[in-house]
Symmetry: C2
Subunit: 451 residues, 2 copies
């Protein structure tokens, strides 16, 4: 036969079973947390009409898009989950109730230049809350709580949710008479972490046409720090000079007002006037999340408030707030950093049942008993030596093995071996199920990330 | 702004939130059941190199494939989950342990002619067990148990898992000297349900060149019925005339030997000599599953034993057994038949928390308390009249609503309303969480399908 060399395209993540189990644990944690906050799962096609997908106009994205003809149709693969959401809401407006809260964890496609850690197919995990005409500020206030609970559930404690408000920045630049350049200034200031204050100051003057005095003023402003209360107090000093600024400050205060009631610890939250998010799309609160000990990773969960979700499809005002996690990249980075827990069970089952004779009745009955007790059980009946069977059990990391030989069949008992301690007991299948259940209950609760 | 009409391509399923919740319940049931049998989840790219994906040669499939260029690359979207599995196993052979048991629930793409109930993007839910060189027959014997538990967990009881063995058919046709035509004969006999015995007889003679006497013999053979034991007893009468037949009969006996131990009720299982599965790929046991009261749907879960998973990638012998559910089509048909349960909660949360004053502290604290107790809670703070808020709660189907007005705040209590009974109680947030938890526990267990 003419053989083809099997390969997976570069830029496409394909995990080995143990890593895939960790990825599944990761995704389940996200799904579970999002559901706790009343988000409904959504699934949209990977393929859309190119006209629909590119309605907004693409810029950088358009070059990266996977676009092709099939018959007479001009098709494209989705490059984010926001455009499909906009389409969905505009299309189903009359059938939805608002606010519409949805989460979507799905693959998106961008034909980026292949390089290490860059993916062409990757999962995004998005949540959005869409209002019909208006959306209460409390929705924005709830987002840090969702981010906190998500990363906490994943196993992290050393992270900071950084929050700002675009109106505060726009209002402040308006005070300086720099409204025309405000977008450009924000993008420059956004580089502060990477290039430092001196270079930002130079760029502000060279690229944004800001005077030396204003550049200093801007750097002074964005350097305001010292905890949320202190930042807000400092911002109050600017009140009354610009309406947009004042509204942004009120929104920021509303966003921080209920943090204790939302269960967000102070150390995991910061008002940070340097963050702006690049996109003009955002109009109010903006969010970034950084790992305290891994600032080099950048933001692992970002988003913000926008006024116009679907203007390119509908004349209805659909304001919203949303955040997104670049799941595939985050998983890859955590893996590289050795931050994925080795404590979670990655075996395909909790128990491997190994019959040692040709009479399989007790072995099958035992597996059935375990499954009825909601325990994952695999039967191993391949014609291999005992040693090869135990190597299989070891290599796959089964927490328990059940051995069934002639003795066991004669006594209607099975030998249950705890692979961690090496302990063995002879018990009935029912008792084995109960013992495994107890042990799994005790051992569970391991998060997928370890700091 | 120049607006584009939002639309979803025909042949692509996109569900409204309540239906999507049912689809999620469907998928979770499959995942959970597959995990109970020791299958590990697998995720492979949607896009593969066209050369790799079409290594086997496509026939009908090749015409339907989504294939396109990106830069210099000739790419294609996967059209099933079997070829990606073959690629994965061949590629990662040295890193996997065998038998390798995996499940994959993923979207596949076929550019079929669009028509009602036909999908171009659809989920397949596959399980396969791959052996290294050999695979014990018990793996084939376990499959009916997996099918039984899956459909039982989905809420069905009226279904039959129909099993046959291709060696029995091949052996039988060899006895008649019809080996050369056996594939064609099987495909003809496969139509028995649809066109009846008379037409099958005619086709056997006209298209397959079978003599009238042999056609009668074939029809007599495939009509053998009366329960597994009776069929096997009748088949024993043919033993000793053909080696392939005898081996097939031994395998069939092994597959039926442990059905009681596997927990498969007799009424959900049948040996059926008419089924063959169209593909030459299958070499031993074959499976089909039909809904007793909806035979028009055809088989909802099919598969079989094959000897050569990945011959077009590797010279290693990789025998296996697998089954597949065409999830999107099955969901669509069940929806059409009104067989999706309306009893399962499709609201995005279990509790809608509605504050009635501008002081939101207690409302936020209550939502946080509920979430800490693993109860899905949504805060509703939009500036709407009370009636509009309750309409939202009704329309979305929240099982519980919590109302918090000035009285509640003064007493640090909340009003918990059971939306089904209309009952209201005033309790602390902790007590509300406990009450909801109890109620949800009592109400749960509803399956996604109702017969």
């Amino acid at each position: 036969m003419n053989r083809i060399k099997p390969r997976t395209l570069s830029g496409f993540m394909e995990l080995l079973p143990a890593d895939q189990m960790k990825m599944e644990a990761f995704m389940e944690t996200l799904q579970h947390t999002y559901a706790l906050y009343g988000f409904t799962p959504l699934d949209t096609p990977v393929i859309e009409s190119a006209e629909v997908l590119l309605a907004k106009g693409g810029g950088e994205t358009e070059k990266q898009i996977y676009r092709f003809q099939k018959g007479d149709s001009d098709l494209a693969l989705r490059f984010d989950l926001t455009v499909p959401l906009a389409k969905y809401v505009a299309l189903n407006y009359a059938k939805l109730s608002f606010p519409f809260r949805r989460y979507q964890i799905g693959k998106v496609y961008r034909g980026e230049r292949a390089q290490r850690g860059r993916f062409r197919e990757f999962y995004q995990a998005d949540i959005d809350i869409i209002g019909d005409g208006a959306l209460d500020i409390l929705n924005e206030a709830e987002i840090p709580s969702i981010i906190y609970r998500t990363f906490h559930a994943l196993g992290l404690s050393k992270f900071v949710i950084r929050v700002n408000n675009r109106r505060i920045l726009n209002g402040f630049y308006a005070m300086l008479g720099l409204s025309a350049q405000s977008g450009e200034i924000m993008r420059t200031v956004d580089k502060l972490d990477k290039i430092g204050a001196e270079k930002v100051r130079a760029l502000l003057m060279e690229d944004c046409g800001v005077s030396p005095a204003d550049a200093d003023e801007i750097l002074r402003f964005i350097a305001i720090g010292g905890g949320s209360a202190a930042v807000i107090a400092a911002l109050e000093g600017y009140r009354g000079r610009n309406e947009t600024f004042d509204r942004g400050l009120d929104e920021l205060k509303a966003v921080t007002a209920y943090l204790p009631e939302f269960g967000v610890p102070e150390e995991n939250f910061a008002v940070d006037l340097t963050i702006a998010r690049g996109l003009d799309y955002y109009t109010g609160t903006v969010y970034e999340t950084t790992l305290t000990e891994h600032p080099e990773i950048g933001s692992v969960c970002s988003g913000g408030r926008y006024d116009d979700l679907a203007g390119y499809y509908t004349d209805r005002a659909l304001p919203g707030v949303g955040i997104s996690i670049g799941l595939t990249r985050l998983f890859y980075v955590l893996q590289e950093q050795g931050m994925l827990s080795n404590a979670i069970v990655t075996a395909p089952a909790d128990v491997l049942v190994i019959p040692m004779t040709t009479d399989l009745a007790l072995a099958v009955r035992t597996a059935t008993t375990l499954r009825a007790a909601d325990i994952r059980a695999q039967l191993y009946t391949e014609q291999k030596k005992f040693r090869a069977r135990m190597t299989y059990a070891d290599r796959m990391g089964f927490p328990f093995v059940i051995l069934i030989g002639e003795d066991e069949i004669a006594r209607e008992k099975v030998t249950l071996k705890d692979m961690r301690s090496g302990e063995q007991i002879a018990v009935s299948p029912q008792m084995a199920a109960a013992a495994v259940q107890r042990a799994l209950e005790e051992r569970k609760g391991g998060a997928v990330i370890q700091e």
